[in-house]
Structure formats: C-alpha cells, structure tokens
C-alpha cells in the first residue's frame, strides 16, 4: 500500500486546527508559528502531489487513490484521488494557505480561533478537491462553507461583515442542498437501475442515467454548485463577501472557494450527468456570458478597491463557466487553467489590497493615491496581478483565457466577439485602479503614516507573483496535466 498522502493533506489541517485550540489563548506567537509550519507542510505535500501527477500526466485516471468504506450499508466510502484537473487546485489551496497564513500574521484578536477556523476551511477545501465519493464531497463541501461565516463575521470589515457573512452562508447553503438533492436523486436512481447502493463517483459515472433524468437533474446539481462559483444571477453574495472578509479569508474565498464551486459543478454536474450538460449547455453558456461582460462593467464603476476585485472575480469566474460550457477540449483546458490562475491572482490582489487597507484604513480609490512610494513592493505585485487580470500575454491569465476563447470559437463564434469586450474593459478598470491608488500624489494625511510591509508579506506577494509569471511563460508546467484531466471529462461527454 502506498503512503496515504492525500489523506494526510486533508486531515492535517483539521488535526492542526484542533491542536491549536488546545493552546492557551495568550500564546499567540506559538499559534502563528504552528500555523505557518503546518501551512508549509501542506504546501510541500501538495506540491509533491502536483509534481507526481504532472510527471504521470500521460497516464489517465485518478492517482494516489485511497478507498476505505465509511458507511458500507449505504455505499458511502472514503475515496480520494487526484487527476489533472484537481491536482492544480490542490496545489493552489496549498499556496493560498501558505500565503494566507503569512498575510495574517498581524491578526491580534483571537488568532488561535482564527487560524483554527482557517485550517478547518482549508481541510474542507482539500477534501472536496480530492473527493471521489459524492457523499464525501458534500461532507467536505459543507465543512468548507461554515467556517467562512465565522471568519467573516468575527474578523471581517466592521461595516458589512454581519450582513455579508450571513448572505454568503445562506446562498452557499441553499446551493449546496440543491446540489445534494441532485446527488441523492442520482444515488437512488443508480440503485434502481443497477441494484447497488454507491456514492462512488467512478461508479456513478458509469450509471448511464436516462436522458429525461439527466435533463431534469442537471440544472439543480450544476447550479447548486455554481452558486459558489459565482454564476449569474447568483453571484450577488460574492463581492459582498469578498469585501467584508479579512484579507486572508478574501484570499481563500476568491482564490480557492469559488474554484470549489466551479470544480464541483464540473465533477458532479457535468461529469456525472453529461447528457444533461449537453442539453442545458446553452443556458450555462448564456449565464456565463452575462457573468463575463456584466461583471466587468460593474467592476468598472466601483470605487472601493475590494469591490473592484470582487466584481472582477465574478467576471473571471464567468470565464471558467464559459470554458466548461463550451464542452470542448480547449475550452475546458482553459477553464482548468483559469481556475488556478485566477486563484493565485485574486489571492495576490486581496493580499495587496489588504496591506494597503491596513495602513491607509480606506479602500476608496479616490481617497488613495501615491501608494507606490511607501509600498513599492505592493504596487509591483498589484500591477502584476492587474496584468494577469487583463489577460496580458506572458502571464498566466493569457494562458488560461486564450484556450477558453478558442473553445468559444468552436461553439458560438459571436460569443467570443462579445466576451472579448470584457478584456478591454478589464484593462481599463484595472489600470485606472492601479493608477489612482498607487500612483499620483500621496494624500497629505498619509504622509509618514504608511509603514513598510514585513518580510513575510513580501514573501507572500513574491510567491504569488512568481507563480503567475512562471506559468505564463512556461504553460507546459501545467497544461499537459490539465489536458489529461479534461480528456477524462470529454470521454464521459462521449467526445474524443
């Protein structure tokens, strides 16, 4: 038996979370050090998994599989494994966790609870990404959702945190139970058809559900998860949530959690109900288009830096859904890459915005300015993030968006034309935001009040920036494995 590395990845954060709660509340430094050590550990593990999957991307299917029965009577098993689509997301989670801990070093109000909840969240996220069992996926999905409420409500931005946290939790909860309903329907239908009770997705993939069944259940299942992916018109929770959340949580939220929704929508919605996907794809496609264009327009008129990023996330996650909805190799590969790229990018954005806000105590773009002088490193990082966001070639955003557009060309060419408008709009608002907040004159009230960022912050920003550039220059570091993952999806869709 091979070493259960995936289980280690999933459960280490949960165990650490519990252990941290056993510290005395006053021992804040110990808590932070523990958190950082654990995050590095997770990063190394997830990096290793990524590397292994990358090296084996020629072999299709899931790797590092572990399967133990959990509730055999009902066919619930603990079944984990990664493929080319999930391995980058596991790595992404590791990265965001690591940088998130670095960024959160300065949290002074109950850091013990903060890191414990954050790790609980991380454990849930890892769990979803590696799940090959539908029940287990729901289980971890919910674990990932509820710590969000506490993290936002307790450590969030005082003005909107209660409202935003509740809104977010309710939206996501509604979505997830909707999807759960779909999952249970699949489970029982599979039982009626084949006489075996199983939640194992590898078995459910082979169930061969009828057209009518898939037609009926695809939409609730897909949309239920897609809520977390920020799909229009259920995207509303996301910018509010981003804004209200503390920095590290925003990073997790936009960087990883939204991917969770998109990933689960793909894994459960499209992969288990491929025929339904084919029938409903027009709707998903249309909604994703709205996401892309509408999100960009709304982002343009925001004055709060975090709202700008929040709506840009809506727009960019729309590209992910769009990529899925093309049901083509290019589109899905692009969507897979976009999930990773966008995750790193928004993490960087929110980290940078958080650093500015911590010092200037405002995120209103008109009130900011000239931040490049006191915070040059942050400015550079933000600019790099901006370039990724604009889909500038040479950065990961381009690598991801280009194939998505190629996919769109193959399905509805005019949509590519419309969606491309968002690129220019994105460029406009990102550049405006960069210029207004980081360049120009430093407002007099900030003179001498903007302290430099710490080494830890620099490490975090540097790591994130470097990843995006590296991926942008050497797409082959990720693309083959994502393609191999997509291959599996296409197989289920009956394509090549």
């Amino acid at each position: 038996m091979q070493f259960p590395i995936l289980s280690l990845i999933v459960f280490a954060p949960l165990v650490i979370a519990v252990l941290m709660l056993l510290y005395k509340p006053e021992r804040k430094t110990e808590v932070r050090v523990t958190a950082l050590a654990a995050a590095i550990f997770e990063l190394v593990l997830s990096g290793w998994v990524y590397l292994q999957v990358y090296l084996n991307s020629a072999t299709p299917g899931y790797q590092f599989q572990e399967k133990y029965s959990w509730l055999p009577a009902l066919g619930i098993s603990y079944h984990v494994g990664v493929d080319g689509l999930s391995a980058p997301l596991v790595l992404l989670t590791g990265i965001v966790m690591f940088t998130g801990v670095l960024i959160s070093w300065g949290i002074d109000d109950r850091p013990r609870e903060f890191f414990a909840f954050l790790f609980l969240l991380a454990g849930g996220v890892f769990g979803v990404f590696v799940s090959l069992d539908l029940f287990m996926l729901f289980f971890f999905y919910e674990i990932a959702v509820f710590p969000m409420y506490l993290l936002i409500a307790i450590w969030g931005w005082k003005v909107t945190r209660e409202y935003a946290a509740m809104k977010l939790t309710l939206y996501l909860f509604i979505g997830s139970v909707l999807a759960l309903l779909g999952g249970l329907a699949m489970y029982f239908t599979n039982y009626q058809m084949h006489g075996t009770l199983t939640f194992d997705m590898l078995d459910l993939e082979k169930a061969g559900f009828s057209q009518a069944f898939q037609y009926l259940w695809f939409l609730p299942t897909f949309m239920g998860f897609a809520v977390l992916g920020g799909i229009f018109p259920f995207h509303n929770w996301s910018p509010d949530g981003h804004v209200a959340a503390p920095t590290a949580v925003s990073m997790f939220h936009a960087g990883v959690l939204m991917k969770l929704g998109a990933f689960a929508a793909l894994r459960v919605g499209i992969m288990l109900l491929p025929e339904g996907a084919k029938q409903w794809v027009w709707l998903i496609f249309g909604l994703a288009m709205v996401n892309v264009v509408y999100g960009a327009f709304i982002a343009m008129i925001q004055t709060d830096l975090k709202y700008v990023i929040g709506f840009s996330s809506v727009s960019h996650m729309g590209l992910v859904s769009l990529g899925f909805a093309t049901l083509t190799r290019e589109g899905m590969t692009g969507a897979g890459l976009q999930m990773f790229s966008h995750g790193v990018m928004t993490a960087l954005f929110f980290a940078a915005v958080g650093m500015v806000y911590d010092r200037a105590h405002t995120r209103q773009i008109p009130e900011l300015g000239g931040m490049v002088k006191p915070l040059p490193f942050v400015a550079i990082a933000f600019i790099i993030g901006g370039l990724v966001s604009m889909g500038m070639p040479g950065f990961s955003g381009f690598i991801a968006e280009f194939p998505i557009f190629m996919g769109v060309w193959q399905t509805h060419w005019f949509a590519a034309v419309i969606a491309s408008i968002s690129i220019v709009i994105t460029a406009a608002y990102i550049l405006l935001a960069i210029r207004r907040s980081f360049f120009g004159d430093l407002p007099p009230q900030f003179e001498g009040h903007i302290g430099a960022i710490s080494v830890l912050d620099k490490v975090a920003l540097g790591t994130l920036s470097l990843i995006m550039i590296t991926l942008g220059l050497f797409p082959n570091l990720m693309v083959p494995m994502v393609s191999s993952g997509v291959q599996n999806v296409l197989r289920l869709l009956g394509g090549a």
């Binding site: 590969t333 060309w409 590519a416 220019v424 406009a428 050497f474 082959n476």
Partner: protein, 522 residues
C-alpha cells in the same frame, strides 16, 4: 560560444530580460551602476545582431537561425523564432535604437532602476514580435510590449499638462495619454486576438509557415461558421488591418499617437516612433499580405486611401502644430503613411516588379523613419530638457547660441525631409516609384503631401533656429547650453547611418529585396 551561435536569436531576444533581472537586484541608489549596466546590457544584443547580420546568408531566402521549442502543446503553439531579411532589418533597428535610447535616458533621475528595467523589457517585447514565427508567440510579444511603454509614459512622462475630459473632469495629460495609448492598442488588437483564435481553432496550429499555406489553400466556398470562407477571410482581414493600422498609426486611428508622443519621456518617444510604430507596418508585411493576398488586393484601394489621408493630414497637422514634439509626432504619421502606401501598392499587384520596388521602399522607409524619428525626438528632448518648453513660439534664433545642436538638427531634419543623398530620399523615392504605376491617383495626391513635409520641417527649423532671437535663452539662468558629449554620442550613429544609407542604400536593400521576393514570390 557554441551555445550562443546555436541559440543566437533567443540569446538576443532574452538577454535584455536577464539584464533587467540583474538590475532588479542592484541597490536602487546606485544610479550610476544601474545606468551603465543597462547600457552595456543593451549593447550586447546589438553586437550579437551585427554578428547575426554577418552570419546571415543573403542569397538564401526564407527564414534562418530558426529555433523551435515546445511551448503550449495543448493548443499546438510552439516557441518558434527565425529571421528573414525583413525581420533582420527590424531587429537591427531595435537593437540599435535601444542602447541609444538608454544612453539618452541618462538624464533621468527618478526611479532609475524601474525605468531601466522597463526599457529592457520593452526591447525584448519588440524583438519578440520581429522574430516570432508562431502566430501566438507573435501576439504574446505584441501585447507584452505595451506594458512597459504604458508605464514609461505614465510614470516618467512630462509631469506638467492637464487634459479636460468630457464632463469637465481634469486629469493629468500623461495619464490620459498613456491610458489612451494602451486602450487604443488593446482594443485594436482585440480583432487580431479573435482572428488568431479563429485561425487556431480552424487549423489547430499557429505556425506561420503552415498557416500561410493552409489558409491560402482554403477554397473560398468552404463553409466556416455558417459563412463562406471568403466572408470569413474578409472579416478576419479587416480585424488584422485594424490592429496594425492602430499601431502604425493610420488615419483615422492615429489620435493616440500625438498624445502619447507628447507626454512620453524622450527616450520613450524615440523607441515609440523608432520601433513601436514599425510593429504595425511589420504586421502588414508579415501577416496581412501573405495571409490575405486576395483581400489585400481587393481592398488595396481602401488601404491606399487611408495611407494617402495619413500622408496629407499628417503633413497638414504637423504644419499646424505649435508644440515642437507634436510637430515631430505628426510627421511620424506622415512618414508612416508612405510605408502603408507602398504596402497598398504592392497589394494590388503582388509579384510584379513595381510591387517589389514599392515593398522595398516601404521596408526601407520603416528603417529610415526609425532612424530619423528617433533622432528628431531626441533632439526635441535635448532642447526641452534645457528650456522646459516645447512651444515653437518660445524659441527662435537659437542657431548662434547652439551651433552644433543646430547643425545636427538641420542634418536630421533633412534626412527626415527626404533630401537626396540622405536615407529618407531613397526610400520615399522607391515607394513612389513603385506605387505610381499601380496607384497613380493616390500616389499623386501623396506627392502633394510630400510637399508639405518640406513645409513643416522647414517651419520647425525656422521657428527654432532662425528668426529673431528670444533673449531669455541668451543670458542669465535660462541661458541655453550646447548639446553635450553624451548627447552627441547618441546622435552620431544615427547620423552616420542616415548618410551611409543615403549614399549606399544597396547594403540594406539587398537584404530586404531577397526577403520581399521570398515572401511574395507567388
């Protein structure tokens, strides 16, 4: 050495980036070290390019020094670079102008480190476009070059000046100009991006040689996306044309250029006019004509019309300017119009001798304009640094005060004007010679524009150097100082080349001609 000779192009291409990374780790207050590092670093690609030129087999057509590396296998794009005579000329222009621009920037004192890094990034971005043999790689570099330029204008542009937007909101002029530059170019390239995507989807390949062949082999009756291939090609043709026309820039897409030039720092203007505008023209030659011979032929009249408008309006507008730098900026529009005219003429009758002559003229004009525009912008910068004004009415009679500067200015202006014996004459003559039989009317009108070229250049010289002396510059704290050695060093290679190419154009034309024959042999 072996590595360099087998990876010559990639070395040239990425050396500036490496240098920029080195500079990144230098301490920010060691301004001198940074400047000299940047200069030396930019001289090495120049040296390598000269070596490349020497190694280049002129008699052999086609692309040489090709290198291919896997890049984005999933969508069948590879990192494929190579040069032919056309690219080689442009690579030389770029590697030549970059060190000069860096040398010209020694007067910059604000955030030197970032400035120099951006310049080196810019160089790589520009070079990449010229050597790319993969459509996607072409686009990557095409876009990437925008970023350093944006920040150069935005951050190191002239700090004064305001622009009123609609709604009465006032923004600083450099912000306005830089954003306009970026948005124009990006919006212009959108069509290009989409067309590239479409090509990629159609052929599952981005290699230029492959695309030339396959795309042209496509029967016009093939149905693509519910339309005939001919329609699709026409739309894609215009998408390409607009992207490149914005960059050239061609009337009526030119309005970003005067703003960008006016606000850009001197060295930025040098590269902007010297190389960046050539990217657009290069795009016409490398992509539009070979990929769309039929459409180019069909719409050559339109292109010629745009070119003529650029020439005439550019000249008129230049004449009307009071700002010295704007004057030079509009002159660029005027000169680049000739490039497009040559291209349009060639499009009407590809393969004929006239067309080849016109193309040779266009390419040479690109090179020449690179030299003269860079020189002119630098000279404007020189005087601006001393007087902090660019208003032509503020100057006057400066020749006696700064005779050397005056001489250089006159020499460069003459090259720009197209004085026989200097380079500008050769290329413009070739363009006109080639175009006249093919597009007589447009060429005739353009000749009218040429007349005004003389007018505005002479006006510039007169306003600055001659006429009554503005006493402010003669005495006291505003006393004008002569051009210094560093600045002369910047100008010397430019002037030498202007003269050399004017006298012995064949040195360059041979290379160009081969490439043109190869590219448009059918």
């Amino acid at each position: 050495m072996d590595f360099i000779s087998t990876h010559l192009l990639t070395t040239i291409l990425f050396f500036p980036v490496l240098a920029a990374l080195v500079i990144f780790f230098l301490p920010g207050d060691q301004v001198k070290t940074i400047r000299w590092t940047a200069l030396l670093a930019s001289l090495i690609p120049l040296g390598l390019t000269i070596f490349l030129w020497a190694q280049f087999t002129q008699t052999a057509g086609g692309f040489q020094f090709q290198e291919t590396y896997p890049w984005y296998e999933a969508i069948h794009s590879s990192f494929h670079v190579g040069v032919d005579g056309l690219s080689l000329t442009m690579v030389l222009l770029t590697t030549l102008l970059t060190p000069l621009a860096i040398l010209a920037s020694f007067s910059i004192t604000d955030r030197v480190k970032a400035y120099m890094m951006l310049f080196l990034f810019l160089e790589t971005g520009m070079l990449g476009v010229f050597v790319a043999m993969d459509l996607l790689i072409f686009f990557v570099f095409w876009e990437i070059g925008l970023v350093p330029m944006y920040f150069l204008i935005n951050q190191w542009g002239s700090p004064k000046g305001e622009r009123e937007l609609w709604g009465g909101m006032k923004v600083s002029a450099r912000n306005y100009a830089s954003l306009k530059f970026l948005i124009y170019t990006m919006a212009g390239s959108l069509g290009l991006l989409l067309a590239i995507q479409m090509l990629g989807v159609l052929f599952q390949n981005y290699d230029l040689a492959y695309l030339y062949q396959q795309w042209n082999a496509l029967s016009p009756d093939t149905v693509l996306m519910g339309m005939s291939a001919a329609t699709v090609k026409t739309v894609a043709f215009w998408a390409f044309v607009i992207a490149f026309a914005v960059k050239v820039p061609v009337w009526p897409f030119h309005t970003w250029l005067p703003d960008a030039h006016t606000e850009a720092p001197t060295a930025g203007s040098m590269l902007l006019a010297g190389v960046l505008l050539k990217l657009g023209a290069y795009g016409f030659l490398r992509l539009v004509l070979p990929l769309y011979p039929q459409q180019s032929h069909d719409y050559a009249g339109w292109l010629a019309f745009l070119a003529t408008m650029a020439i005439v309006f550019g000249a008129f507008a230049a004449y009307g300017q009071k700002d010295f730098k704007r004057l030079v900026a509009y002159s660029s529009i005027n000169h680049m119009g000739f490039v497009l005219l040559g291209i349009a003429a060639a499009a009407t009758a590809i393969g004929t001798q006239d067309a080849t002559i016109a193309l040779n003229g266009a390419v040479m004009q690109m090179f020449n304009h690179g030299l003269s525009a860079a020189g002119m912008f630098f000279l404007v910068g020189v005087i601006y640094e001393r007087t902090h004004t660019r208003n032509l009415d503020d100057f006057g009679g400066l020749f006696p005060l700064v005779p050397i500067y005056g001489g250089i200015l006159i020499f460069t202006s003459m090259a720009s004007l197209g004085l026989p014996g200097l380079n500008g004459f050769v290329s413009e003559f070739l363009v006109v010679r080639g175009s006249l039989p093919l597009l007589p009317v447009f060429t005739a009108i353009s000749m009218l524009g040429l007349l005004f070229t003389g007018a505005y250049i002479l006006k510039g010289i007169r306003k600055v150097l001659h006429g009554p002396l503005n006493e402010i510059w003669a005495h006291g704290e505003h006393r004008l100082t002569e051009i210094n050695t560093r600045e002369i060093v910047v100008m010397t290679p430019l002037m030498v080349l202007m003269l050399f190419l004017g006298i012995w154009p064949m040195s360059l034309l041979d290379v160009i001609n081969k490439a043109m024959l190869m590219l448009f042999s059918h």
